[in-house]
């Protein structure tokens, strides 16, 4: 897969060999859809990202955890092409899309037009939108105005809008954070089901450890501008919080996130 170069600085020479610590996983997953090498981003003299290496393959679901202000969202914005690295190499697949924390639908366009907003307007776009809305269970709302939707519905439209692009790299910036707990659980199920079908490489920024552990194949902890942990999550699905491996990983993550460990599991 050819990657778009979004580096702040031109890469010197050929791309380095694959240094991914998960090369056996790499065989299972598809080609690399995002590759960061030594990425630094400096805001007002402070390095928010201070030499980050990360690689995401197609079909892989990477959850990005970290305390507030550690550059998770900056990292995601760099991957989306909305921000530039000051140093380091960034390569991402051309076909990528984002689901933000807010739905960010254009209020003056009907739901289906929002879904195909990135597409050339044609006779087929209505059908394309209907198919995408069907996947998120909102085909009946194709002609509705975004403001008439509930928060969860609007976020499902945003998901349809992202998937209709057939992304090789899907970036999720805390897309469930603003939803109520019940809607969030439903969204988790929906996302897993949709990803089985589309299987892009996914980067999910989240604050929620349980969310990260139940959805992802790999968790990456960012703290102080660096990757502090990059661990596979290979528990079988559906995952139960009471599972021993789940709880062990959870404790490891909490430690890396500077949170004092909970009581050990009984």
């Amino acid at each position: 897969m050819s990657l778009h170069d979004l580096s702040g600085v031109r890469a010197a020479g050929a791309a380095p060999a694959d240094l991914s610590p998960w090369s056996e996983e790499g065989r299972r997953f598809g080609p690399v859809t995002a590759r960061l090498r030594g990425v630094r981003r400096i805001f007002a003299g402070r390095a928010v990202l201070d030499g980050v290496d990360l690689e995401v393959r197609k079909g892989e679901f990477v959850a990005l955890l970290g305390p507030t202000g550690t550059g998770k969202t900056t990292l995601l914005r760099i991957l989306a092409g909305l921000d530039r690295a000051d140093e380091g190499d960034v390569g991402v697949a051309a076909a990528r899309s984002v689901v933000f924390q807010e739905p960010r639908l254009v209020p003056a366009l009907r739901v289906w037009r929002n879904v195909v907003i990135g597409h050339r307007r044609s006779a087929a776009s209505r059908k394309l939108a209907a198919a995408a809305l069907d996947e998120v269970g909102l085909v009946r709302h194709a002609d509705a105005w975004p403001r008439t939707l509930s928060g969860g519905e609007a976020q499902r439209v945003a998901l349809a809008r992202a998937l209709v692009q057939e992304p090789a790299l899907l970036l999720l910036d805390e897309p469930f954070a603003a939803l109520d707990a019940l809607t969030r659980i439903r969204m988790h199920g929906l996302v897993q089901q949709l990803l089985r079908r589309h299987s892009p490489g996914v980067v999910l920024v989240t604050h929620d450890i349980d969310e990260a552990l139940s959805l992802s194949n790999r968790v990456v902890v960012l703290n102080g501008g660096r990757v502090r942990l990059n661990a596979p999550v290979d528990m079988p699905r559906p995952r139960a919080r009471t599972d021993r491996a789940f709880e062990n990983l959870r404790q490891r993550l909490l430690a890396k996130l500077d949170v004092a460990a909970d009581e050990p599991p009984i």
């Binding site: 092409g81 899309s97 960010r104 254009v106 907003i117 008439t148």
Partner: protein
């Protein structure tokens, strides 16, 4: 009425508390309004009647005072005399000739002024160079009361049609400019960012995201400008009008026909109401996504 009702409920609640062992909190009554539905509908009918009765009463008082000869008829003729003046204006065909002439002036000036304001507002809103070029001069010109410029317009354009349309044009640029500029700048940057992520080019972002989202604000500007166009029309028609409502007013002024003057003023007021209604209708047609919010 509702106060009395809530007081009764609170008293009952407090009375109930005395039977309990522990005292309860004092509860504020936020329940359904006290009083049976029939009583409420009677009240709202009475309020509606009041809205009609007050203006009617004022008219009756005017008729009585002027009719009894307490006021000089040349200063304030009775409402009936004004109505007769209306009949006269319609009978001679003057009014039917005047309204299209005045409307034509106002609309020509408004269409030109609003288009100019729209183009400048979009330019200044979408491109930084446009803002740098136009915003400061327009913000300065905006502060000039346009009525003060009438002598200048007479020197530049004479006392014919050109001066009148030019005055309306100049006056109607600013509300559309300001609201268009503010509307474009007010579009949530997050929406624009999302559009960028989904691969929209700047031109597509302008057409699919910014313009539709700024449209409510633009239409508010046009509605303001329509009101200003009427104001400028009245001012412009004071300059030697040879047709239109201003012509009727000037003639009536020379002939000391106060009744006709009042009739002319009422026509201006009616034009204002009609313009406002038309603009509201346009807004409802152009902004269905807003209507769905209000009427849901």
């Amino acid at each position: 009425m509702s106060f009395a009702g809530s007081a009764a409920v609170e008293a009952a609640a407090l009375g109930g508390d005395q039977h309990d062992a522990e005292p309860g909190l004092h509860l504020v009554d936020l329940g359904a309004k006290a009083g049976p539905a029939s009583e409420r509908s009677f009240l709202s009918a009475a309020r509606g009647a009041l809205r009609v009765l007050v203006p009617v009463g004022l008219l009756a008082a005017w008729q009585t005072v002027s009719g009894l000869g307490r006021v000089e008829p040349a200063a304030l003729p009775t409402p009936l005399t004004v109505a007769e003046a209306f009949g006269e204006l319609i009978g001679t065909g003057e009014l039917q000739a005047a309204i299209p002439a005045s409307l034509h002036r106002a609309l020509t000036g408004l269409v030109l002024g609003a288009s100019t304001g729209l183009v400048l507002g979009l330019f200044a809103g979408l491109w930084r160079i446009g803002e740098q070029l136009f915003d400061a001069p327009l913000q300065m010109l905006r502060t000039i009361p346009f009525i003060a410029t009438i002598p200048l317009f007479i020197i530049w354009f004479g006392i014919g049609e050109a001066a009148k349309v030019a005055l309306i044009y100049a006056a109607t640029i600013f509300p559309v400019y300001l609201n268009t500029y503010a509307g474009v700048r007010g579009v949530d940057p997050k929406l624009i960012e999302a559009a960028k992520v989904f691969g929209l080019k700047p031109r597509q972002i302008s057409l699919r995201v910014i313009l539709p989202t700024a449209l409510p604000s633009i239409l508010v500007g046009i509605r303001f400008s329509a009101g200003i166009a009427l104001l400028a029309l009245v001012a412009a028609e004071q300059i030697n009008a040879r047709s239109g409502i201003g012509y009727i007013l000037n003639n009536a002024n020379q002939n000391q026909r106060t009744d006709v003057i009042i009739a002319g003023i009422i026509v201006y007021a009616l034009l204002g109401i009609v313009i406002d209604l038309v603009m509201r209708w346009v807004e409802r047609l152009a902004l269905p996504w807003r209507a769905s919010l209000v009427f849901a």
